[in-house]
């Protein structure tokens, strides 16, 4: 027979005002197996916990029930108290008679609340009687981190982890790290040059002894769980031997063929063998195979001839490398929504309609115009530029419903950059609202208006078209209630920030959640903003949603702190509330495997005495299982069960009702 103690908490008046706690305790005393009952003002207080410990020892209890608030609040507290009194912590269960009982009843006669508390507690007693003591699961931790994406968020995370003394593998799909920030000219709100503050960090990452950078690489496969991931990385063929290349750039110089530069957003050409920009890290070129005549039809080969260290290797193939990883930081960043969706703005049709990032390149001293604002069509300096905000953002019908958050700020910045470079130029900005929340941000926008003469018009633009060689912008100024028309020399679209194409596939590979826009989901948007629901995988930067550089950097550092705290122990303890398979009756239908949202179920071979696999069954990986119980519901042969919540326990609880 069990020796169970039942402690009923009054929670001051929170519970006691609608529940007769004494009566609940007295009723429970009548149940076989219950050897102690009592009620108390505040069970969670130190005297309450002390009392609990003493009773456990004095009455030699083998199980404890605390009927109190939600287990989210104090399950840990009471289990710890039991443990220190020598009881297995999983022999302590909570009945929620506050949130589920006293708070939802107003009956001051306490009748209803008391009856319900008695029912709930009785059910827990029957469940507890069938509780098996469980042991915490200890899993070893491999102390190497993987950072996916080498934008500013990923670089920051990598640097902080590396500075914390742990090894980092940084995987970047482009030939250089740096991300979108490398494209920016100057940055709001301080107007410091983007490259000048970014490149030192890129170089620091390259030279850091704890950081290994794989560029032109992508994640092929991820297996395992927190502390124990096995990651396969595809190193795409660069056709340049990274160990031999000295970065002299002779090959780039001599390559006779060109293609549109991705980095310059098609405003300029690059060679077929190239680095995206002069300060690329690593400074090792790649060959764009689809445009290289040598690789396509064995003609040319100029680069190989001039390359001193003989680093060019036209036969190079993709390689898969495997890394053993303890934690992952995902920092894959953003793209701009393709402007081609907005035919009414003439993008793609009218040459002088460009995107915000293209404007950054025009304003950048390392850009295609050397930092002079010259329009793409004829290289003339535009005397009037119209900036259109919220293109695709806040547009449920054609674009996305959300606000891209940073375009108000960068459009204001663009008007300033333009005015500083073209002194008698006139900038116009069409806006719906100006969103400039942030330290010194609104002052920044006011400076653009009051000091640098940008003309802000409140309204959307309905169309941009050509008339007699001029680009006409037609929109509204709702402040004066009129339609307005402006002859523009150039138009800049602040297009929506969207998730990287393919972000959803990466999420599926990693087993993390994403929203309908493919931005990655935080575990909790307020309280656990850098964690994902998959333990050991963290988030940083604009892959979560639109944000600016300071926020991306903060998130990078925050994710690094999470990784470092995980790595501070050699093993980590996990709650043993996991699923388990009753192996003899599993018929390998794989319903559980398909149902599990955490990919915790794998197939396991059952071997005969000779070691031959005779059949396959489902197996739960304790490190990955989050104890959600979906598999239990899915299993047709009822052979999978959840520790602490077995069918037997749950039915016993129901029968006690």
């Amino acid at each position: 027979m069990s020796r169970i103690g039942v402690f009923v908490c009054q929670c001051g008046n929170n519970i006691a005002s609608t529940v007769n706690t004494k009566k609940v305790a007295d009723e429970m005393a009548k149940i076989p197996g219950v050897v102690y009952t009592g009620d108390y003002k505040f069970m969670c207080s130190s005297p309450g916990q002390e009392m609990l410990k003493e009773v456990v020892k004095e009455h030699k209890l083998d199980g404890v029930i605390v009927s109190a608030c939600s287990p989210h609040m104090h399950e840990k507290t009471f289990r710890k108290a039991c443990e220190s009194a020598g009881l297995n912590p999983f022999r302590c269960e909570i009945t929620n008679i506050r949130e589920q009982c006293s708070w939802v009843h107003h009956d001051k006669t306490k009748e209803v609340g008391t009856i319900k508390s008695i029912d709930l507690t009785r059910m827990t007693i029957e469940r507890l009687k069938r509780n098996r003591p469980l042991e915490k699961i200890n899993i070893p931790i491999k102390k190497k981190a993987l950072v996916i994406g080498g934008g500013i968020a990923g670089i920051q995370a990598a640097l902080d982890i590396a500075e914390g003394g742990r090894e980092v593998v940084l995987v970047e799909k482009e030939p250089s790290i740096g991300g979108n920030m490398a494209r920016l000219s100057e940055t709001f709100p301080t107007m410091d040059c983007s490259q000048c503050i970014l490149t030192p960090k890129m170089v620091e990452a390259e030279l850091h002894e704890n950081i290994t950078i794989h560029t032109w690489s992508e994640i092929e496969r991820v297996d395992g769980y927190i502390g124990n991931f096995t990651v396969q990385i595809r190193k795409k063929a660069k056709y340049v031997n990274e160990d031999l290349c000295t970065g002299c750039g002779e090959c780039i110089e001599k390559c006779p063929f060109k293609a549109d530069s991705e980095f310059e957003m098609a405003l300029n050409k690059r060679k077929v063998i190239y680095t995206p920009f002069p300060q690329s890290v690593p400074n090792i070129p790649v060959i764009d195979a689809s445009n290289c005549p040598k690789i396509q039809k064995d003609k040319c080969g100029a680069c190989a001839i001039v390359c001193g260290p003989k680093a060019i290797d036209f036969k190079q193939e993709d390689r898969i490398i495997t890394e053993e990883i303890g934690a992952i930081v995902v920092a894959t960043g953003y793209e701009l929504m393709p402007n081609t969706r907005f035919g009414e703005y003439g993008y793609g049709r009218i040459k002088d309609v460009i995107s915000g990032l293209q404007f950054e390149r025009l304003a950048s001293s390392s850009g295609p115009t050397g930092g002079e604002i010259r329009r793409p069509s004829d290289g003339e300096i535009p005397e009037s530029v119209v900036f259109i905000q919220c293109v695709g953002s806040r547009d449920e019908k054609k674009g996305v419903a959300y606000c891209s958050k940073i375009c108000c700020m960068y459009s204001a910045k663009h008007t300033m950059l333009y005015r500083h470079k073209v002194h008698d130029g006139q900038a116009y900005v069409f806006y719906m609202d100006i969103r400039s929340g942030g330290k010194r941000y609104d002052e920044f926008v006011r400076r653009a208006i009051e000091h640098d003469g940008a003309m802000y018009l409140r309204g959307r633009v309905s169309r941009v078209y050509e008339r007699g060689g001029k680009t006409i912008v037609q929109g509204a100024d709702t402040l004066s209630g009129t339609q307005v028309e402006i002859e523009a020399d150039m138009v800049v679209l602040a297009t929506a920030i969207v998730a990287r194409s393919g972000a959803d596939q990466l999420a599926q590979r990693l087993g993390i959640g994403y929203d309908k826009y493919s931005f990655y989901n935080e575990y909790h948007p307020k309280l656990r903003p850098v964690e994902t629901v998959t333990a050991g995988i963290f988030l940083a930067g604009t892959c979560v949603g639109p944000m600016d550089i300071p926020e991306s950097v903060s998130m990078g550092s925050a994710a690094a702190a999470k990784v470092l705290s995980l790595f501070s122990a050699d093993e980590m303890a996990r709650e043993p509330i996991t699923a388990f398979v009753n192996e003899p009756i599993c018929n390998a239908c794989w319903d559980c495997l398909n149902a599990c949202p955490y990919s915790a179920i794998e197939s396991k071979g059952v071997k005969d005495r000779k070691g031959n696999i005779v059949r396959w069954i489902a197996n739960v990986n304790d490190g990955v299982c989050q104890g959600c119980g979906v598999c239990v519901a899915a299993c047709r042969s009822k052979c999978i069960d959840l520790k602490g919540y077995t069918d037997e326990q749950v039915y016993a609880a129901i029968n006690a009702f």
Binding site: S384, Q426, M455, R458, D477, L479, S480, T482, V484, E485
Partner: protein, 133 residues
């Protein structure tokens, strides 16, 4: 309405800024001035709308609106403005600029004698100052 650089910086706009001492770009267009103005209900354009039209360089609309003549100079607008812009000064500037062109708002000769005789002195003097060059 067509807007361009010339309109935004027209001599008229610059003169109103100089005479009033106000910079139109400073105005948020929050509408607090119009909200508090005791006579904006009767104006063609409230004080904030007048400022908007000036920001947009719309001389014609501003010059023909009755707003400047209705303003009583109570300075409610100025006392409420979060940017310290005085719509009152701007309307005063518009009045002065109109009157100095010799364009009277009131035809004194046309006023009926009994009215002039019965009206309080204060009203006649301040009225003449405000409406007549």
């Amino acid at each position: 309405m067509k807007i361009d650089r010339e309109k935004l910086h027209s001599p008229f706009v610059e003169q109103v800024e100089r005479v009033s001492g106000e910079v139109f770009a400073n105005c948020y267009q929050c509408g607090n001035c119009t909200g508090g103005c005791p006579v904006s209900f009767a104006m063609d354009y409230g004080p904030s709308q007048i400022i908007r039209l000036l920001q947009l360089g719309q001389e014609q609309l501003v010059a023909t609106a009755n707003s400047m003549w209705l303003c009583v100079g109570c300075l409610q607008c100025y006392s409420r403005c979060p940017k310290g812009v005085s719509a009152a000064s701007i309307l005063e500037a518009l009045r002065q600029m109109t009157l100095r062109k010799g364009e009277d708002h009131e035809d004194v000769g046309g006023l009926p004698f009994p009215f002039l005789k019965d009206a309080p002195q204060q009203a006649i003097i301040s009225g003449f100052r405000k409406f007549v060059s």
